[in-house]
Amino acid sequence: MNTREISYTNDNHKIISICNNLKQFKWQKGVVAGVYDKCFNILTENRDLVTIFKNTDMVSTRAMISDVVNSFNKTDILNNMPVVFKNNIIYVGKSTFNLTSAEYIDFKRDRFTLENHDKCNIKILENVLCRYGKQTPLLTDGCIKDRFSSGFDLLKTDLDLGIKSLVGLGIGLTPSCDDVLAGMSAYFYLTDTADSFICHIREYLNSQGDKATTVVSKNLLCDITEGIISDTVYNLIYSILFDSPNIEKCARRLLDYGSTSGTETCLGIIYAHSLMVGKEKPQWL
């Protein structure tokens, strides 16, 4: 982008809040990678993900929350459009996003101390998912369904092979199995019950992530393995463990995420719980 293009800017916005973990990324250039109603993604020159959201409290761990109230689909921001970050201002097409007065928000989580896992509470989540969950390729698409099923079975006996057979499986921006693994990782991290699972995922993403899955998905999954977990996922797991009257409310908020990502993350939480309390507990748990 050159200065002439910048001079055409006519849609100036403010960034209100920024996730703390974005501080560590130094970037000057990027490209738009997906434009949606509530947000659009930027991939920086270092393949890091930054997501600019409209003014909402439903955000990911890579969020910059703007004062935009319109759908981003109604702006001129398009896939593959170049992005410039200079002097605390992000330039995209005719829009600017000024970070000068933004506050930082922290999604790094402490772990819970647990005495037991309550089976009844997970039933509430299962019921909400049955009623309001979206149709996911994981449960409907023959090929993906079979591969997911065998990958999940493998996960119980061989973590490395299981993770390898799941990461990147699914057709969309965040492949469905990655969302399931995100739900499982968040549950295991917060309950402090399966460090080996978290470590294996982190190692796999660090060594193979760029080849195995989309860059957006890799970034979000990596955050979870570092304990950087969005409010929506955190609140749902908290409600399952300590605040059952709010499970439905929290679950329905998570189900609104993405096209099917929320549903698949919920599934991941349920699967993680079932592994914890099931009769055939994997050796790594």
Binding site: K134, D141, G168, I171
Partner: protein, 514 residues
């Protein structure tokens, strides 16, 4: 066959959109299969498993989108690729041109708009409806799960502004010749309908249409309108509106059983109405109606016949479309010794109700997930017991999908399950036509019917499938074509829900007596 892979670098779409695109491309003539997904190694394996891999795929990375197509020749694949871009552009154009941030914005862009259709999650629906009413618009609310106190407030607000609040949970309306929601297209005429019974109202509408009469308006009121809390606000408003409407000569009210307090208010309103009114409360106690000399009926066929006779002033013989002379004995001879039950899998909730009423009256108990009698409520809605009728449109089965009359997957699966039950003799299906409903419901089911009939035959059984088509010749699905597809699949077609149930009862009765 030719396989082509088209690669779009750094291209990102959500999975539901991609699934829909792949399905649309697969349905094209000359295309055998299509798959679209990000180029992760595991997705590439999946595409390979489907036999949709080509050399172009080898160099892709996980951030590239792969459009994999198998078609009769290169031209077919290329046409499908172009369709992909057309569909993507359509979505982007629609998003930018036809979407508004608020109801006020939409109203200011289209000042003549006088109806808002609301289909957002229940928790947000009331506030949107209020905004629409405050912007001088009538409301058709498809959304449900709206608190009843909000419903009362909205209906009172609508009333005070001279507007209609149709819903919450309103399946269809037909206003000034416009079909709204999941509604069939019918001729206009002098018969006005109001009530809370989506498929029931549709059944009466199409019967009226088939017999050469027409509908002035059909006003949906929402399922809770006749409750104690709501007090029939919309029903009473509808009676008044139809009473004042110069194009309406006869009125029929169709609803689930009302609360006593609402019934009394509605009876008072009917008595004030100068036009003839026929009341049809499904499984309702008609004592009060009789005492007040109000006309009533107990089946949709009778409701349709009565309003037509009131409209023309003489008796009407219902037109027959399908042969109702089914050779019961010939059917019964084909069943194995184990086969004895009916399994009805219906999209229409009111048709399910009517079937229960008819069956209970003539045959005895029938189990259901929507049973009137709690003793006949299925413990597990996914497992039938003896004679069973399933309201497959119930949320239990759709799990976040569209209504089963739009996305028939849940019914196809249930049909296969029932067809393979060795005790199933008859399966009864309804096919709803109209705008916003599935474009070709008969074809979707015919494939399964043919396969399961063949399977049953190979196993020494016989599968009798009865169906009714609740739609008109003006519906976009093409009534005659739907009927032909079902006939070709060996289905016995009945004109109405009542006739279909009567055929089924005769068969099951004969089976019981053999």
């Amino acid at each position: 066959m030719v396989v082509k892979n088209y690669i779009l670098e750094n291209c990102y779409y959500d999975s539901v959109f991609l699934m829909r695109l792949a399905r649309k491309l697969s349905e094209k003539d000359n295309i055998e299969n299509a798959s679209i997904g990000m180029g992760t190694p595991l997705n590439k394996d999946t595409i390979t498993d489907l036999g949709l891999n080509a050399s172009e795929m080898d160099t892709t990375g996980p951030n590239d989108l792969i459009i994999a197509i198998k078609g009769t020749d290169e031209e077919a694949c290329e046409a499908a690729r172009e369709d992909f871009f057309t569909l993507v552009n359509e979505r982007e154009t629609q998003t930018s041109k036809n979407s508004f941030r608020s109801i006020a914005g939409a109203k200011s862009s289209n000042p003549d708009a006088n109806l808002a259709i609301i289909s957002v999650a229940g928790e947000y629906a009331a506030i949107e409806a209020k905004r629409a009413l405050q912007n001088d618009m009538n409301v058709f609310m498809f959304s449900d799960n709206v608190p009843i106190e909000d419903e009362v407030e909205l209906k009172k607000l609508a009333l005070s502004r001279g507007k209609f609040m149709m819903g919450p949970g309103c399946g269809l309306s037909f206003i000034n010749g416009v079909a709204i929601g999941l509604c069939s297209m019918v001729n206009r005429g002098d018969i006005g309908l109001a009530g809370a019974s989506g498929s029931g109202i549709q059944e009466v509408m199409v019967l009226v249409h088939r017999n050469g009469f027409g509908i002035s308006h059909a006003i949906g009121t929402g399922g809770r309108d006749m409750s104690d809390e709501v007090g029939g606000i919309s029903m009473i408003q509808s009676i008044r509106a139809l009473s004042e409407d110069k194009d309406t000569k006869v009125i029929a009210l169709i609803s689930k059983p009302p609360a006593q307090s609402s019934l009394i208010k509605v009876i008072d309103e009917i008595k004030k109405c100068p036009k003839p009114v026929v009341v049809h409360f499904l499984n309702g106690d008609n004592t009060l109606l009789k005492e007040n000399s109000i006309l009533y009926s107990e089946t949709f066929d009778d409701t349709a016949r009565m309003v037509m006779e009131l409209s023309c002033g003489h008796s009407v013989e219902m037109k027959k479309i399908f042969d109702d002379d089914v050779d019961i004995d010939a059917e019964v001879k084909k069943f194995s010794g184990d086969q004895k039950y009916i399994r009805a899998i219906l999209c229409g909730g009111s048709l399910t109700d009517e079937m229960q009423i008819l069956w209970n009256k003539d045959m005895g108990p029938i189990y259901s997930n929507a049973a009137f009698d709690s003793k006949l409520l299925l413990d597990d809605p996914f497992t039938s017991v003896e004679n069973t009728v399933i309201d497959i449109g119930d949320e239990t089965f759709t799990k976040g999908r569209a209504h089963v009359a739009i996305d028939p997957t849940a019914r196809v699966n249930r049909f296969i399950k029932e067809a393979r039950d060795r005790e199933t003799a008859v399966i009864y299906l309804d096919f709803l036509l109209g705008y916003a409903l599935h474009g070709d419901p008969a074809s979707v089911m015919a494939e399964a019917i043919i396969a399961e009939k063949k399977r049953a035959e190979e196993e020494g059984r016989h599968l009798c499938v009865i169906a009714t088509i609740c739609g008109s010749d003006m519906d976009p699905q093409d009534f005659d074509k739907q009927a032909q597809i079902l006939k070709d699949a060996g289905v016995i077609l009945a004109d109405t829900n009542k006739t279909a149930v009567e055929h089924a009862m005769k068969i099951i009765k004969t089976l019981e007596e053999r």
